[in-house]
Subunit: 502 residues, 2 copies
């Protein structure tokens, strides 16, 4: 794509007035985006010394600083390195109606990592796939993504870097990375070009800015931003999806399709499985001890372990989680109970709050209810329309694949009980003073929708049992059996992972 | 305090049964604390190899893992180093009804920093003061703080470290810090002793655990925790403050009293100040340019700048903030608009959400409305009782002093307009379509309470104008004058700080 870009020069006097008009328009448009609750992400990448910082300063000069956030993306720090690579971008997602403006983004991150030998080509390719997935997920959720690449010639870059290095005040701004960027201009050119080509999609097309001339660059950026926001607001008003006309041929992106493993329907699960007290005592001890050993190995090898619990009300999730937790060194895990989202969570992509809850690598993150609420309670309780919830099967598979790429072992449990057993437990809770807080009218109401939930669970298990993150249905009528099965499954899955690493 | 502690030995057979009873009691007590919405912080400090980790594991073994969080506190990482030293503890505050259990805490942090030469004695003393303030603020807010120091003899410690070092599996756990802790047992003994003595307060008394014998230690910890929670729940039920009977004489803690600078009442502010367009243009440019230069210096010297905006509705805060922001490199500041707190914020100390919003050192954090809501809108709108809000003057002065110790320059602005000017602006907003979103019924309702607000503002300015963080009342009837004054004040305060650093 880059070779087709010509460096242009705009007459300053001509541009000034138009720029002013556009700036004023931008203020109104930012308000319109706020009113329409459109979250906007603007990424500015490009050559070293292409003027990213000063272009951003010009872009936001007249915008209301309460509603944008500018972040400068550098090499990940020690904390960021212990999370999935896209984690730091997920963390920074703007709320609906707000702007995130990135000076350098996942693109610079990826290209530099490859060029400086921190990742190999396979990892680079995975990242390109992750990026397309990430941007599509955001676009599907109503995010407007405007991507700029500031392009300057080798000569121009050299001139600018020399000039910065000349003055004592600006010398510190020229880094070894910048010099390398210029010394290997040809190699970077090819890599940038490939990267742009592969990530030029309909939902997040590239805007390549000819930036030898700063006024031209400013003009292009301002015009692109105002047009995109205008388009997005207009589309939203009509209830349509906003699709920009891309300047370059798009990459022909297709969402990944996942190979699924065969699963059982809930109706076919054998609910009679149980353990005697004696068997339970022995097996509990055995697998708890084994899990503790495995935790130590995971800690040393920095393997993250994600344990996700779903199940019927009164299925025994709490007690099950407790047996897993009490096997572990408490400094190495955290249990995340998932309740209804808070306003700041509702104002962002629904996966945001789960990304935000990931513990460091080497640690266990145990979710008590999970992102699967999206395809169960949300459509059934009409919190999310069915068509929107249906998109989550794909999104969740992608999310879990990214966790797997990070190195995570993912154990997903559906704790299953039958309808009679639930009735018995509800009644027991009602009749036991110390357990009454555990039973509410809502539990009874949910119970009335048993069949609807069962269909949703069957569908969820079927569509999200990927090879890397299959569901385990835990026969839960006997709590002892269920606890041992969960512990055993976690051990087995970690052992399999360790086996593969050998 | 330490020299009075005798090492005891408990017969295991005797303890086992009682421990079991206490463990079961603890489950109920944890539920009671949850129901009573008492947040609990348990800190476990002590000698290296005193068994902190295994004591924690035993303590929580039967607790519900959804409602506690165990954190291991190590040397601050690169991100934590760029925040105030207590920031990482504030960040981890548990919600009401939840438990935070710390393996090592602000105590180990402080003693190690001194012993390993990272801080000097003055800084150590400041930290002791910060700790007492921190714990008092939490206790005042209903937090139950249970502090343990696990005490073992030099000989016992040597024995344990040698044993760990013997086995290949456990050798990695013995660090240079641990060895130093044993080699300089005497010196550490004295420092621990001083630290414990100075922080043994009524609201957060020390429990020194004789830990040569593990069963004795477990017994003491379990008994102390159950008693404290019982006491706190009983006190809360009666609406009383929980005060444990301390085992050792307390340090005689008194909250700091701050020297205040003289301030004006709002009624005495000259509201006629204004600038011509020409003066405005010149001065705006002058101070914006100067501020940009100063930002660069602050960035290089890692000086954090906190700008806090309060003012009447329609006072012009937004436009004022914009002029400050647009002077700055956008990568070096963030504007934090403060709205009503979310559930997760309401469930913690009210200063939590402000601690959480602090940017790194070297950056500007600009607050659009602030922690001062606590002494204005909250009591006036009956969100917080007056007596509770009144405690905030002290708490806020302490908070700002801690920010100052971190190195921050703090600029606090009250943007003042008179009642007629507000009326004019409200009407203008109502009559200008593009501004109508800015005016709500609530604004008119607040206006009816003008006198009450004015008294609250006068009191706030009087009681929180400390030498390190004085208020600046900005005459705001003329927006141009107000913007220049804010810019000029920020520049001046930064310059004064730089002057002092020379």
């Amino acid at each position: 794509m880059l070779e087709t870009v010509e460096q242009k020069k705009t007459k300053r006097s001509l541009a000034a007035e138009e720029l002013n008009t556009m700036r004023e328009e931008l203020i109104d448009l930012a308000n319109a985006a706020k009113a329409a609750k459109i979250p906007v992400i603007i990424t500015i990448d490009g050559w070293s010394a292409a003027g990213k910082g000063s272009q951003i300063a010009k872009l936001i000069k007249y915008m209301d600083p309460r509603f944008y956030n500018v972040e400068s993306i550098r090499t990940p720090n020690s904390v960021e390195k212990r999370k999935p690579w896209l984690h730091r971008y997920w963390q920074r997602l703007p709320k609906q109606g707000e702007f995130l403006i990135l000076d350098g983004s996942w693109y610079r991150d990826t290209v530099n990592a490859l060029m400086f030998g921190e990742i190999d080509k396979d990892e680079y390719k995975r990242r390109i796939k992750d990026i397309n997935t990430f941007e599509r997920q955001l676009a599907d959720d109503g995010y407007l993504i405007i991507k700029f690449f500031l392009h300057i010639s080798e000569k121009e870059q050299k001139k600018r870097l020399d000039k910065l290095a000349e003055s004592e005040i600006t010398r510190w701004r020229v880094t070894e990375t910048d010099l390398e960027n210029n010394r290997n201009y040809e190699k970077f050119f090819k890599r940038y070009d490939k990267t742009l080509t592969r990530t030029n999609t309909e939902f997040a097309p590239w805007h390549i800015v000819s930036a030898n001339d700063k006024t031209t660059a400013q003009f292009t950026i301002m015009m692109t931003v105002t047009n995109a926001i205008k388009g997005a607001c207009a589309a939203k008003e009509k209830g349509e999806k906003f699709i920009e006309r891309p300047e370059f041929p798009t990459a022909g992106y297709q969402p990944e399709s996942f190979r699924l493993v065969k699963t059982k329907k809930l109706a076919d699960v054998d609910m009679d499985k149980q353990l005697t007290d004696e068997e339970y005592g022995k097996k509990l001890e055995k697998y708890q001890n084994r899990l503790f050993e495995l935790q130590n190995i995971c800690y040393q090898k920095k393997i993250p372990v994600i344990v996700a619990y779903e199940g019927w009300d009164a299925g025994g999730k709490g007690g099950n989680i407790k047996r897993v937790a009490s096997a572990l060194d408490p400094r190495g895990y955290e249990v995340k109970p998932i309740a209804a989202p808070e306003p700041s969570e509702l104002a962002r992509h629904y996966l945001w709050r789960f990304w935000n809850r990931l513990e460091n690598d080497g640690h266990f993150t145990i979710f008590d209810r999970t992102w699967y609420g999206r395809v169960m309670v949300e459509p059934i309780e009409k919190i999310t329309p069915q068509w929107r919830a249906d998109m989550a099967y794909q999104e969740i598979n992608e999310f879990e694949e990214q966790l797997t790429e990070w190195g995570a072992v993912i154990c997903k449990f559906w704790i299953n009980i039958d309808k009679d057993e639930q009735y018995r437990r509800f009644k027991e809770r009602e009749n036991t003073p110390s357990k009454q807080w555990k039973i509410t009218d809502e539990d009874w109401r949910n119970r009335e929708k048993w069949d609807e939930y069962e269909r949703a669970v069957d569908r969820m298990v079927e569509l999200t049992s990927t090879e890397f993150a299959p569901w385990t249905i835990v026969e839960g009528n006997d709590k002892k059996y269920a606890r041992v099965k969960a512990l055993k499954t976690i051990c087995k899955m970690i052992e399999e992972r360790l086996e593969k690493l050998r």
